[in-house]
Symmetry: C3
Subunit: 402 residues, 3 copies
């Protein structure tokens, strides 16, 4: 309980404008705003652990728009809504994935009369996902300003073409938990590196989200990938700028070996070159399925040349004391388990399996915190109220010790 | 708050039998019953605006049966259930869309053990949708009478082949809001007219719902459509009878121009001739896809002859002072935006865009009111209780001003 | 109210270890544990009838994994979750129906961060369904033990290849209600018999569940089927052993006529021979669709030789006083109604139609009781608390008599 009270005091001292804007890219937020989300997430998690009811809404729904299949993100979002007392309703757009203009404006309003959050996952089209979220946000602003909507729901970026803020913030929350505090991360070396996978077209949002966020708090961030597997150049520039501002560092190297050297944390994960994602977007929009097949074939062949980008025991030995923390957004491609040859060996994965689960476990709380920070100008006050009320999440009979 | 109290008094004075019957066609209800739904909807909306928790159910589910795709209606229904404290579960019938007899009777009971509402959208088959709702209702009566169900859930008509009561009642609530009161609508001229659209097979339930309801409260209702685009004759007779009884008028004219002349309100919208819908029903039942394609082709060609049924600025100039209120159930076919040539020009639509959104915004409250009026013999009392309790919908910290 | 208090006292006196293990096969539980579920279900049903709010959870979700289509079970599970205050989220595995190993372990944890229950229906693959549930359970144990999950959700067997405990327990609850008490069932003759249906591949879990459970409480259980339509031999052995232990009896006969003779209760229902189910599993796993078609053809032809296994009025006359209670898990194949020739005649079914609906009506309460018994070491205490609080399930205005 003391820990919760302390966090509430800290939250109250942060300067945050999150209640007036959607968190769509972490690098558009101030450090205080990111800290606010981290601390609110921690409070919600502690309250649940203390069996305190965390609902702030008696009624209201969260809309979900998944333009790509999803299991883990769907459950995290549902769980976050449930923690706050909200119901959920999917918007199934069917095939109208490239709807724009009046259709977006109208639909966004039609589904939001009593919505508190609109969670969107849209990572298929480079240049389109984040833009779509802003279009939805503008439609909601318009509806709210004109008296159509009695409230402005939070738009939650559940993964776009550029960033994956609920993932990277959950990653950061996990690092904070693992190393003890945000301050402890200062100077820690993290290696975000490409790894081989027998699949293709994996989005860029995870590595981009990681280099865009971990450079904010004084960490030494290394990005590594085979030649040609570039991330969006503008995001790499963001990471460089961030590192300078936060007193950390950002560098790029050309091998997993070099990146792992002396690392405290490693994040080996496959992705597709951003130029391939661009080409893929053109083909997807054109409905050119033969072109897509040809592109996939070329890329898989190209990937296969880099099978040695593999996180195994030997590779891990290069890290600091051979004991770096392995991270992954899951599911990982595990050699000999989920595929013949993948991102990580069975031995390494099994050693850090529980750690990656814990990393993922932050996501529902991060999402709930983002909604709370968007819907309350002063989230510490309402959380304080929940703490004071201390209604049980799970009913206990007095004296039962349960 | 004063407005809410006043409405509760008014609701208490109405004679209503809605708690003992499903509202499946507005013209089967007395004026008092329709007023009850309107006023309960207004109270629920005001309470939500005042941050008062509107839940009357701690547990219970609403079943949804959508025999046609739906986004807007689905969200309105979900939201209505959420406002009352109910969860939702879809009944996905797969391909068994023409289930009857024991299957309907059994299924209706199996899904309703703890159901408070069964919302049904079934507008594909002329002569079948409303009949199916009554079959479900009879099954629920049977289950309740025999002790299978501890309560009789409300059957909610979310659109059928004949009427679309949640839409027309939302339309009426919006007119009431816009013009100030139900009494202000007396003598107002409303033009329900066909408009060109490049699609075919749009249901009849909206225009039928509008002429069937707006003739109840002394309005001057004009119906206009090209020759051959008739609504179901029995519904037109209902409108004539209603107008006579309410002191309003009902007339039919042969052009949009004539209908718009001096109108206070215009509702230009495409639909398919009822004879086409009849033919389509026969073909659908027979699974005759070649026949359906041929019918579509013929109808689209026939529609194309009536492209001048178009609501543009020139057409709007014919209305009273050039300033009639434009209405639409959404989504509208907007010329140059959603199609090359549609029901309404961009200029007219944009001018009334927010108005149409507000029109739609009444739907969740109308649906919630219908459920409440079906499940409570005296809804004013329970609403009064909610008002007295005044539990917050969204938790506020004391003194936070949020 | 007196009845509820009495039941709570009885529940408090039972020895149960259900809070520490999943109920996956009824024959793995002690009589006290089964009685606990029955009595908790009855309390929940009575409380709801008395308009008492039965929610013990303020937040939390129930995960549903349906590896086969389902309407009735889905609604029962949703309703059970809702009765306890839980939300629901489907895990849609798409085509990955034979996922194992790390995928299962990881997914089970990823969806369960705030889950209180994981309901699974998996009855397609002989030898796999129940095993899959145990694999999920082990993954949840692992996650809970390692601090990934703050609670260990209840795994609910919503039908597997071996048992269908929510069905058989609902059947038993219904028999208890119908005959007055569990003790009244002692010595009652129940005939679980195969019946003809024009379909094939119906799971074995219902007849196996019935003979595995009804032999626990001193009933005289008769199993009848045509030659070759055997159940899994190990389950038949379980039934024999159970009967011996409970002071009842278990026998197998070769005709419906003989099984019905003097029966108090009859349960005529189609199923596929377990050897066919084995063969089908091999073909399904191999994706051998031609083989599956050939198997279906052979089986339907074989079934057709047993059309006289039909529960009609003449057959019912053979039962005790001609008045045995007819049971079915629904939907039944009704001759002349759902098919030309089926399991039961229209006359017999119609006479017991309401009875079968009431039988099914127990399912939501049985499922809720299973979750409660898994999540509370002493469910009587928390139920007593609900009774003491007596919050209304459906809000009533004071003095309204509603």
């Amino acid at each position: 309980m003391g820990r919760i009270s302390g966090l509430l005091t800290e939250i109250g001292q942060l300067e945050s404008g999150l209640h007036a804007k959607d968190l769509l890219l972490t690098w558009e937020q101030t450090p205080d705003e990111l800290k606010q989300v981290l601390k609110v997430a921690e409070v919600l998690r502690l309250m649940r652990a203390e069996n305190i009811d965390t609902r702030v809404f008696a009624t209201g729904i969260g809309v979900s728009i998944f333009r790509d299949n999803s299991t883990r993100t769907r459950f995290s979002y549902t769980t976050a809504l449930n923690l706050l007392g909200l119901g959920q309703q999917d918007l199934d757009e069917g095939k109208s994935q490239i709807a724009h203009g009046e259709t977006v404006r109208e639909t966004a309003n039609m589904v939001s009369f009593c919505a508190e959050a609109v969670g969107i996952r849209d990572d298929m089209y480079l240049g389109a996902g984040n833009a779509y979220m802003r279009e939805v946000g503008a439609a909601l602003d318009d509806g709210f300003a004109n008296g159509v909507l009695p409230q402005r729901p939070a738009v939650v970026n559940l993964q776009c073409d550029i960033d994956h803020p609920t993932q990277s913030m959950a990653d950061l929350a996990w690092l904070q938990e693992h190393f003890g505090s945000l301050d402890e991360l200062r100077g820690k070396k993290i290696a975000m590196t490409w790894a081989y996978s027998p699949s293709y077209g994996k989005p860029l949002s995870v590595p981009q989200g990681v280099i865009g966020l971990m450079t904010r708090f004084g960490m030494d961030v290394t990005l590594a990938h085979p030649q040609g597997y570039d991330l969006i150049p503008a995001v790499v520039k963001v990471a460089q700028k961030n590192a300078k501002a936060s007193g950390g560092s950002f560098r790029q190297v050309a091998s997993m070996e070099e990146a792992f050297k002396g690392a405290d944390i490693v994040y080996p994960k496959s992705w597709a070159p951003y130029k391939v994602m661009q080409r893929r977007t053109v083909l997807l929009r054109a409905g050119d399925f033969d072109g897509l097949k040809a592109l996939e074939k070329t890329c898989l062949a190209q990937n296969a040349e880099h099978q040695h980008w593999h996180c195994d025991e030997a590779m891990m030995k290069r890290t600091k004391g051979g004991k770096a923390l392995y991270m992954h957004c899951l599911p990982a491609d595990i050699t000999g388990l989920s595929c013949e040859r993948g991102e990580v060996s069975q031995g390494v994965f099994e050693k850090y399996r529980i750690a990656t689960y814990k990393e993922a476990g932050w996501k529902p709380y991060i999402i709930a915190a983002m909604i709370l920070a968007r819907r309350y100008a002063d989230p510490a006050r309402v959380l304080g109220q929940l703490l004071a009320d201390a209604r049980p999440r799970m009913k206990r009979a007095p004296g039962s010790g349960q």
